[in-house]
Amino acid sequence: MSDGTPLIDPHAHLYNELSGRADWRRVNAARMRAGDAMGVMYHVVSVLGTYGHRSPTYFPSPQDVTQGNRDAWMMAEADQERVRWYVVVNPNHTEHALAEITRGVANGAVGVKLLASRRADDPLNDPICALAAEHHLPVLHHIWQHRTREWSNQEISDGADLARLAARHPRVAFILAHLGGGGDWAHTVPAVLDTPNVYPDLSGSGVDRGMLDVALATLGARRVLWACDLTMETGLAKLRALEVIGLSPDEMADVRWRNAARLFPPGTFPRCGAIT
């Protein structure tokens, strides 16, 4: 399955002991097993607080945010070869969020993860994005593709919401989470077309035929990132589909890893080599 060509998964999660799952170590090990089989050189991971065990996944308490970030840091330290990490923040607690980013950068975080604690275009996200810009960190934002109503336990945002935030922070690269992760991807692509600092990732359990074609034809290969999120078999399926839809080798390399290498701080992925 793996031919040694660089491959980066910029949207991955690891579980922690406080997630309340007895099998959290098994799930983390399964991600690494599948990643190695597919040739994933780097998993850029976040730990989402306590995954709902102590506070809601998408509205994590400051205490759980800190705990999850500490666990992500430790996991990255323990597997420096394969793991990089996002610092998670809850923008409802501004000072805490900014302190987490500062501490995260000091501990090697390479990006900021925004969940669904506020709508993407909420002003509370502005100081977070401003600090991300200072540190040249991309922001991975959880997205519901085309929100047509509210959903419980999330303050959902869609591509149009994220585009408004991105327009206010043109120095920040925003990774739009899981184009295949629920909702209507066909709405997202035109919603972000005119916002060049929004980069959809292809992760999610959805494997609709046509999604890859539309995203690449509309946005171009320089704005799309391959990724897995919660389902790695769909990631492998999309990787194989990308190989048969007519991308050039350059375009394929962009989607597999070069776009990620451009968005994250320099030197984040040394095993991928330099971008030529």
Binding site: V27, R209, L230, M232, E233, A237, K238
Partner: protein, 253 residues
């Protein structure tokens, strides 16, 4: 190995890239599949299934060595028994039914009669749990996913019933399988196109608990990427590689 869950034709809620039989033949060859049971994708949203069946047979005619018709029999429609005999005589390999789209509850007597009639004829009854993720459905697409009570009721209908269920996730599969006797469990085969692989490893879990012999291969082309079930197989833990799933081609009546 054949694909038990392919379609041709248009989908009412979004444009699909070239959902045509000649393209399907090329895709199957690319994926190393020997053939497919093929349904008429517009059928669930059409009241009278007969014109769709005729269109399906006509479209597949040049490709019958590879593409095998899976027409619809609607058991609350006049003369459905005759329709069943006719489509079997014309070479149907499986019978498709859409109880959710026809507003039929779990204990609908006509669906029970259809399951029994298909069983007597030695042809599988092919049931589709879903066409799309619920989170992206059109407000007009209100049928809902096929339910466990539907499946358990049909599996219990008689010992010759044979169901092939496509598009189930782990929860539906488990609530059905473990709600049946061992004899009844053997009346259902499942595809694994919508079952999660790693890191959750639902597919690996089900191979261990339910058994590989309960699974068949289905892609849901042209709705979904054909590469997905193969990817699921390829990412299994080492001890589960190459599971002895069943080739639906062996069900030929």
């Amino acid at each position: 190995m054949i694909d038990c869950a392919a379609y041709i034709g248009s989908y009412p809620f979004r444009q699909l890239p070239h959902p045509d039989p000649d393209v399907l033949v090329r895709v199957l060859a690319r994926e190393g599949l020997g053939g497919a049971w093929v349904g008429w994708l517009p059928a669930p949203w059409q009241r009278d299934p007969l014109p769709g069946n005729d269109a399906l047979f006509a479209a597949l005619e040049p490709h019958r060595a590879t593409l095998h018709p899976a027409p619809v029999v609607r058991p609350d429609w006049p003369r459905w028994e005759q329709t069943l005999r006719d489509v079997i005589a014309r070479g149907a390999r499986a019978i498709r039914a859409y109880p959710m789209h026809w507003g039929m509850g779990p204990h609908d007597p006509s669906m029970r009669r259809l399951a029994l009639a298909c069983g007597e004829a030695g042809i599988p009854l092919l049931l589709t749990v879903r066409f799309e993720d619920a989170r992206q459905r059109s407000p007009l697409d209100v049928a809902g996913d096929l339910t466990g009570p539907h499946l358990r009721a049909l599996a219990r209908a008689g010992d010759r019933v044979h169901l092939v269920v496509t598009g189930a996730g782990r929860e539906l599969l488990e609530e059905t399988h473990w709600g049946l006797t061992p004899d009844e469990q053997r009346r259902i085969h499942w595809d694994f196109a919508w079952i999660w692989g790693p890191p959750e490893d639902h597919f690996a879990h089900l191979l261990r608990t339910v058994g590989a012999e309960r699974f068949v291969y289905g892609t849901h082309w042209p709705l979904r990427l054909t590469q997905n079930p193969r990817a699921n197989l390829d990412l299994l833990p080492a001890e589960l590689r190459n599971p002895p799933i069943v080739d639906a081609a062996t069900y030929a009546p």
